[in-house]
Amino acid sequence: MSKRTSKKKQWTRVDGRAFNQLRDVKIECGVLPNADGSAYIEMGRNKIICGVFGPREMHPKHMAKPNEAVLKCRYHMAPFSVDPRRSPAPSRRDQEITMVMRSALEPAVFLERYPRAGIDVYVEVLQADGGTRCASINAASVALVDAGIPMKDLVSACATGKIDDKVILDLGDYEDKKGQSDLPVAYMPKLDKITLLQMDGIMTTKEVEEAIKLGIEGCKQIYEIQREALKKKYGIDKTKSEETAPQEPVAEEKKEEKQDE
């Protein structure tokens, strides 16, 4: 660790990225014909697909809430997404990620508009390359908009971490494993709120603050990519405003019609 300063100049990342550079991110929305909303994301070598169903009747019924919709999430990995092959049964890690993903998305959704309903957000990881939870949140956020769910903001997520005592953005699989710490962040850019924050490994308070700030910068870049993906499907904003987040009234009308069926 004493080599920190001396090594600074020649320090490079395994894939040649700058410390504050994201991996390539590609998002496509509306990829699942049977889902109400969907999105596919590639973030580095991560390949993740998300389908959203709802608002629909809550199942099981006794879990419904009288004054708001329940956002049900499920983070799941394909057996062939990792090496060696994994069992399709959910692990404790999967269940924890399911929880934090829900907690990252809930603040962005107008749940109170659909009392007694359920909204299902299902994430399937087809290939994992470090930072799957952040990539999943990015896809889920776009899929929710695609499903016409009224949102307060998009949720954008990416991880930061520390390697060789240096705080860097968006660790890939290889960096993840040799990193000193890992700090995933989800962020709502318009509302300026952090909705996911986890950390493992040893960091000083200063490093944590640095890492969160770096993470927020990353999230802002992802936010633009998410907006582009939505624009690509739904066309240029009528308002020509900065806003690519869902036009709520329209989305709501769409939903109400749906419920009238």
Binding site: R74, P79, P88
Partner: protein, 268 residues
């Protein structure tokens, strides 16, 4: 796939009406497949993979090659394991959870086709007799369901296996040592399942989800490149006459080479 409700009854009536004109709801001929698109080898972390679209039916096949101990009665043979997962994103009515009856049948029918054709040389998958063998996992992962999963998965399995590689072990002082080398799996046959569905008096190929919902009976016939049958599986709550079975086998015989050609093409 119950026919119990009114909507389904109307759907059935409509589908039958259209079929009686020799066409399908989507304009296809009775024996015509939807566009079949296979991208193989796109998952870098699997030893083999294929993404399959058959119309709006969409799935991934992942092949992973691991190791394990052989079965007691076949100490020199590697193992092929097939599994299908119906993900909840594939259809609004599919719940997350353990495999259901349909996903078990899907995996079993494809698996039996691969086994009957002896597609892999299981002796080639031996590493140390009685102790360590390769296990080849073929996992089907359904992303969007619009019917005819057996044919789509069967085609995808061949595509994924044709591109699959296994890591090479060297034996040093009786102990297996993993090397950096990888070699392709030997694929001895290319069995292709073709499912024929009977609705009313009509026999069709490549049914959509709507067609499967109202079908009377299905016969899946798996064929190898010599035109021999490797597996058959009848399902659905009606019977078939001997003549109908012959008709189905003929339909499958006529279609399998076309599908096999697309699979092979996709891996080149």
């Amino acid at each position: 796939m119950s026919k119990s409700n009114v909507v389904s009854h109307l759907k059935q009536k409509k589908i039958n009406e259209v079929l009686s004109t020799g066409k399908r709801m989507d304009g296809r001929g009775l024996e015509e497949f939807r566009p079949l698109v296979i991208n193989s080898g796109l998952l870098a972390k699997s030893e083999g993979s294929a993404e399959v679209w058959l119309g709006k039916t969409h799935l991934m096949v992942g092949v992973k090659v691991g190791t394990g101990t052989p079965f007691e009665d076949t100490p020199d043979e590697g193992v092929l394991m097939t599994n299908a997962e119906f993900t909840p994103i594939a259809h609004p009515s599919w719940e997350p959870g353990p495999p259901n009856e349909d996903s078990i049948e899907l995996a079993r029918v494809v698996d039996r086709g691969l086994r009957s054709a002896e597609i892999l040389d299981t002796n080639e998958l031996n590493i140390i007799s009685g102790k360590l063998v390769h296990i080849v996992y073929v996992d089907f992962y359904i992303l969007n369901y619009d019917g005819n999963l057996i044919d789509a998965c069967g085609a995808g399995a061949i595509a994924a296996l044709l591109k699959a590689q296994k890591p090479v072990y060297e034996i040093k002082k009786g102990e297996p040592v993993l090397t950096d080398k990888k070699v392709p799996l030997t694929i001895r046959k290319k069995p292709i399942p073709i499912s024929i569905v009977k609705i009313g008096d009509n026999f069709i190929l490549d049914p959509t989800a709507d067609e499967e919902e109202v079908m009377d009976v299905r016969l899946t016939v798996t064929l190898d490149e010599n035109g021999n049958l490797c597996t058959m599986q009848k399902s659905g709550s009606a019977g078939l006459t001997m003549d109908e079975i012959k008709k189905c086998i003929n339909m499958a015989q006529a279609k399998a080479p076309e599908i096999r050609a697309k699979v092979v093409e996709s891996t080149q």
